[in-house]
Every structure is written in C-alpha cells, then in structure tokens.
C-alpha cells in the first residue's frame, strides 16, 4: 500500500511539474462564495484553497483533481446570490462553500443551493434561522456549517449571569439578524435559568444618539446589562449607560472583544464586565492545524473563521470522496455523516489524513475527521457545537477567565433545555 501511495504521490508531483504525464485526466469544480473584497474575508478564502491544495496533493477527491472557483460576495446578499447562481448554473458545481455572513448565506441557500440540489457548507454563518429552516424541512439536508450557532454564545451569557448571581438583566442588542437572534435566544436562556429580563432594547447603528434607548433600558433598574452589540454603537451605548448611572455589571457578546471598545469605554469601568466567546478546542488536531497554517502563511491563524473555513473545505471534499464519482449534491451531503462518524477511523486534517480516508472509504469503512476545530460532528440540522471561554478585559487586551470544553458546553445547554 505504501509503495502504491508513493507512486501516486510521485505521479502527482510529476504532473505538477508540467510534464505530459498526468495521474488524472479530470478536474472537478467546487464553488466558493466568500467576501474576498473585505480584509478579513481574503484569509478565509485562502485557507479553504489551502485545504483544496492538500487534497489535490493526495490525488484529489473522487478520482479527480479539485478546482475551487472563488467568487466575491462583497458581504452583499444580492452579489452573493448572483455569484452562487453563476457557480451552480455556469460552472456546474455540486458543492458550494460559503458564505460568511448569515444574511448572505441564507438567500443563497433558499434561492440557489436548495432549488439546485447543491450541498452548501458555510464556515462562518451563526444565525439560528438556519436551524429553524432545517427543522421545517426546507434545507433538504443540503446545509452544513462548521461554525457554532449563536445558541452557544447566548447559553454562555446565561451561565455567566447564573454564576454571578444576577437576578434582573437588561438586554441591548444590535438591530440586525444576528442581534435579533441573540436577543431572542438570550431571553429564552435567561428565562430558563430563572433570570428576569427587565427590558430588551434594539440599538440601530448609525443613530446620532442612544440616549432614549438607554433610558428605556435603565428604567427597569436591572442589576446587570447584557450587550449584543458591535464596538462602535456599543461604545456609545455603554458610555451613555454608565453616565446615567447604570450598573457596571456587564455581560458582553464576543463582538465586543475589541480594543477600540475597551479603550473608548475605559478599562476602569469594565472591571465587572465579563465576555463570552466560542473557543478553539484544546486538542492535538487544532494545534496541528495551527502549525500547518504558520508554516504556509507565516502567521498565526488569528482571523475570524479560519479554522472553520479549513474544516468546511476539508469535510466537503471528504464527503465528495465518500460519495464517489459523479455524485449529486444530495449524495455528497448524505456522505458527510460517513466522514464525521464518531466511531469511524480517526484521520488528520492534511494530505496524509486524506489519503488514509480514501483507503478507509474505499474499503467500505467510515471516517472520524479530526480537524482544525476539533472532532467535527454535525447534528440533524447541520449545526455544530463548540467549546467556549469566558473572558475579561485587561491592560493589554483580554484574558481568559474560564474555559468550557465541548462536553461542558453541551451539558449546560442541555440543563437549560430541561
């Protein structure tokens, strides 16, 4: 077997050198719709391509080399849908990676990939609207994401409030899909934890003043404030809140994990502020990804969604391999379970791992993918859970207060649902 692999690797190497000798004649295209025109979007696309390259080194998926056709979404739903349509209709892809924002992924899912029978795997969309859509049976099992839903984030908010013994909490949330989602979830989680939500106030961005909104929230005299805001309006709202004598007990969503927010509000007022965030798992496979990333790109994978994007691409390609040649989008989606099987053969997230997976799958076995975000396991709605951290601000940035493993997180969420 080892010799066979070496020969295959040699052949792939030779073909890469541009000679006429080719291991494979065919190329399969997969699509990617990612916001490459924004600065944090480009690395997400690059790391997906990095996964594709490693699979191609292992001889490609389902017998063909893989070409990832990348289109920019500009974080705009219209542009994203156009891009996805072009990829599905013109390039004929059966697998689509993306998009990043839930607001872009959603219209692509409902108007392009589901009608077209294409599997869509997003690295970064966190809205629970997808869960709802899947529960209603409208995704046809074609939707997956490697990013934990906002449900993890809100459950951690409830955990912090419970641990701190807060009884009455006011919620300020950003008036967009994400913020409304968070407000709805956190209200449910607080209720489940026996905490009263005194008021839940929407904050629109680009408003000259948030005084009225803050006045509204402060009226219920809460003993803590939950913030699902972005740094810009978050700063305004929190300064207003503090100046009106609001409590300094705050629980922050991960969107406020920003130096700008800390500096402009002032560290002296944030002593009782605790943030929540999903975390990368503390497992060997995540470290291996980090090392591989540093070697390839020369920097730590610190941007948002990088590990998730890598896993999304890897799992999609593994599923293509498992589904076999000329599989439809639905076949590939159905094969995802075969490559993320908890009782399958463990494989690493690299060229060697992909080769092992090929052999195992060819022999009729199943595979347990151990990726950059840990052992990825999708639930019936294509969602994943994630470990979490509680953090606080310090002079130099943020500091971890508590780490909760995947098991802890799942256990707490389960306790809320009782």
């Amino acid at each position: 077997m080892r010799t066979l692999l070496t020969v295959a690797a040699f052949a792939a190497g030779v073909s890469a050198l541009g000679t006429e000798v080719q291991a494979q004649e065919c190329t399969t295209k997969i699509g990617a719709t990612l916001p490459t025109s924004v600065d944090w979007g480009r690395p997400i696309a690059e790391v997906a391509q990095f996964a594709v390259d490693q699979v191609n080194e292992a001889g490609g998926a389902a017998g063909c080399q893989i070409e990832m056709v990348l289109r920019d979404t500009q974080v705009d739903p219209k542009v994203g849908v156009d891009a996805a349509k072009a990829l599905v209709d013109l390039e004929g892809v059966n697998v689509l990676l993306g998009a990043v924002s839930s607001g872009v992924s959603m219209p692509i899912l409902t108007s392009v990939t589901v009608p077209g029978g294409v599997m869509q795997m997003s690295c970064c969309s966190s809205s629970t609207a997808f869960t709802k859509l899947s529960e209603d049976g409208k995704t046809n099992g074609l939707w997956f994401r490697t990013f934990a839903t906002t449900a993890v984030q809100s459950a951690m908010g409830a955990k912090v409030a419970t641990d701190k013994g807060y009884k009455k909490v006011a919620v300020l949330y950003k008036n967009d899909d994400w913020g409304q989602d968070m407000a709805r979830l956190i209200a449910a989680d607080f209720a489940a934890a026996g905490i009263e939500v005194t008021s839940s106030v929407a904050i629109n961005d680009a408003q000259p003043s948030y005084r009225a909104e803050v006045t509204e929230a402060i009226g219920g005299q809460p003993d803590a404030l939950y913030l699902a805001l972005y740094p810009n309006e978050g700063t305004s709202a929190v300064r207003e809140w503090l100046s009106l004598g609001g409590t300094q007990n705050m629980i922050l969503a991960n969107s406020l994990k920003s130096d700008e927010f800390r500096d402009n509000v002032g560290l002296q007022y944030l002593g009782n502020a605790l943030g929540t965030d999903t975390a990368s798992p503390r497992v060997a496979s995540a470290d291996a990804f980090k090392a591989a990333y540093v070697e390839k790109f020369g920097s730590e994978p610190n941007g948002p969604g990088l590990a998730n994007s890598f896993d999304a691409a890897m799992i999609a390609l593994l599923a293509m391999e498992a589904a076999g040649k000329d599989a439809s989008g639905a076949d590939i989606a159905a094969a995802v379970a075969k490559v993320t099987d908890p009782s399958g053969t463990p494989i690493t997230a690299d060229t060697a791992g992909f080769s092992t997976a090929k052999d195992t799958l060819a022999g009729g076995g199943t595979v347990k993918y151990q990726g950059a975000t840990g052992d990825v396991r999708f639930d019936a709605n294509g969602d994943v859970s994630a470990p979490a951290v509680v953090w606080k601000f310090t002079d130099s940035g943020t500091e971890e207060v508590e780490y909760l493993s995947l098991t802890d997180v799942d256990a707490f969420i389960a306790s809320l649902k009782k």
Partner: protein, 304 residues
C-alpha cells in the same frame, strides 16, 4: 416620559445648530446640500486636533471647567475649529459647488453634494482611521435632578443647550438688527433685485458658507462632547438635520431651530410608543406629517 422630553431637547440643540446652516445654504444657494453634515465632522475632528495640540503645549489648559468635560484647550479649539470649518466650506464651494452652479442644474448640485460628502467622509477616515475618538475618555456622570420620576441630566448637555440657545440669540440679533442681516435676507428673497441695490452676491455667499460652517463645527464638537466622534457621524446626522430643516421650513432660521427641537423630541418620545427598532423612521414620519399639513414647512414660504 419627562426624561425622554428632556433628552429630546438636549439632542435637539445640536440638530438645530446644524439645521440653521443648512437652511441658509438651501435658501440662498437653492440646492439641497447633502454634504452639510460633513461640516460637522470636519469641525469635530479639527477641534480634536487642536485640543490635543493645546493640551500638550499648555498642560495648564487641560484642566476641566467645573463639572463639564470641557477644558480650556477645547474651548479655544472650538473657536479655531469654527474658523477653519467656515473656511473649508468656502473652499469646497470654490472648488466644487461654484463651478457646478455655473454650468449645471439644481440636480447636478445635489449629486455634487452627495459626492462631496463621500469624499470628505473617506478623507477623514483615511487620516484619522475608522474607529471612534473622544475628547475626554472620562465618562461625565449624569446629575440626578429628581428620583421620582427619574430625571437624569449630564452637565455637558446643559452647557451645550445653553451655548446653543445663546448662539441662536446672537444670530437672531444679527439677522433682525444689522444691515448685513438685511442684505442676507434680501439675497435669499430675490438675488437680482438685491444686487441692483448694491448687495455683493459673492461676498454674501462666502458669508453664508462661513456662518454655516462655523455653526456646523460647533454642532459637531457638541455632538462629539455628548457622544463620540467618528468619520461617519455626518452620515448619522444628515437625515435628522435635513428633517429639522424641512420641518422648520427651508429658509427660516427660526424654523430650523424649532425643527431641530421638534425632531429631537419626537425621536425620543417615539420610543415610549414605538419599539426602538423603528426609531430611525421617526424623522421621516415628521417630514411627512409636517409636509402634509404645511407643504412649505412650519415657517417656510412658498416661492416660485
């Protein structure tokens, strides 16, 4: 409810200042200047630069005045910023609007002003970065005026309100008591006839821009003092300021003052009835409502 009313008056004070400049420009130069709110940004950032400069050169000036966030350095900077912003407005007019005015129609002016606002906003973003800035990082805590009903007011906001009212009173005196004021009003009424009577149109246009710019700068600094300074503050403020101008009636300085307060109060009170998600729509509803009842605004006059 009382808290919302008081908040509305305080918000209204800087909307009014912005609207006075806008209404004058719209009346005399006869175009909807969508870049007017950018003058507030220019003013706020200009004051920020001079504030930091004075504080480092003369540390004595960085002491706070009474309970305010205001410092000696900042008050000096405001004066400089008013001059600089007024001159920038004249410069922008010379570079862009005057040329478009000579060749293009009213609509070209509107588009030119849209373009100008994008240019100014992005240049500010390029120079100062996109994150928000503050004159003072300390949070000025509100004074409790009454416990039941709960009424909180920040010293800074009272200062802003008083200063704004003072400036408006001075303007009123200028417009109603001086030859300059009469000349301005004459130009607005009938440019040709005013010129026949020896009013210099070019000088008057420069004066309008300087006044508009200076008031804009003041409004910008007051806004920054109450909230924060960002490159997109012009974008956030342009609609409320336009609403104030239109509600008050284009061309009426008193209307602009009143319009500013009406829009400020309405947006705040609306939260009592409307969920906060709908608050951005309030200025538009105000415009619709006033225009339905008085098509020229509260104080506006019909003109051909």
């Amino acid at each position: 409810m009382i808290q919302h009313l008081v908040d509305g008056i305080l918000v209204g004070s800087f909307l009014s200042l912005g609207a006075i400049g806008l209404t004058m420009v719209m009346h005399i130069l006869r175009f909807a200047n969508f870049s007017h709110a950018e003058l507030l940004s220019i003013g706020a950032y200009c004051a920020l630069v001079f504030d930091k400069l004075f504080e480092s050169l003369l540390p004595v000036l960085s002491a706070k005045i009474g309970p305010l966030s205001m410092t000696g350095a900042l008050s000096l900077s405001i004066l400089i910023s008013m001059v600089v912003t007024g001159l920038s407005a004249v410069l922008i007019d010379n570079l862009v609007f005057r040329r478009v005015r000579q060749k293009g129609g009213e609509l070209s002016m509107v588009f030119a002003s849209f373009g100008m606002s994008l240019v100014i906003r992005n240049v500010i973003g390029l120079i100062f970065g996109l994150s928000s800035e503050l004159y003072s990082r300390d949070i000025a805590f509100a004074m409790v005026l009454s416990r039941d009903p709960l009424l909180l007011v920040k010293p800074d906001q009272v200062f802003v309100l008083i200063a704004a009212l003072l400036i408006m009173f001075v303007l009123y005196l200028v417009f109603s008591r001086t030859t300059f004021g009469f000349a301005l009003r004459a130009i607005a009424e009938n440019p040709s006839l005013a010129q026949v009577h020896g009013v210099n149109l070019k000088q008057m246009i420069v004066a309008v821009w300087i006044i508009g710019g200076a008031l804009g700068a003041l409004a910008g600094v007051f806004y920054g003092l109450s909230y924060q300074i960002t490159p997109v503050m012009g974008r956030d403020l342009v609609l409320p300021i336009f609403a104030a101008t239109i509600v008050g009636g284009i061309g009426s300085v008193y209307g602009a003052v009143l319009g500013g307060f009406i829009v400020g109060i309405a947006s705040n009170i609306a939260l009592v009835v409307l969920p906060s998600g709908y608050s951005p729509s309030v200025p538009f509803l105000m415009i619709l409502l006033v225009l339905l009842i008085r098509p020229n605004g509260l104080f506006g006059e019909a003109r051909a």
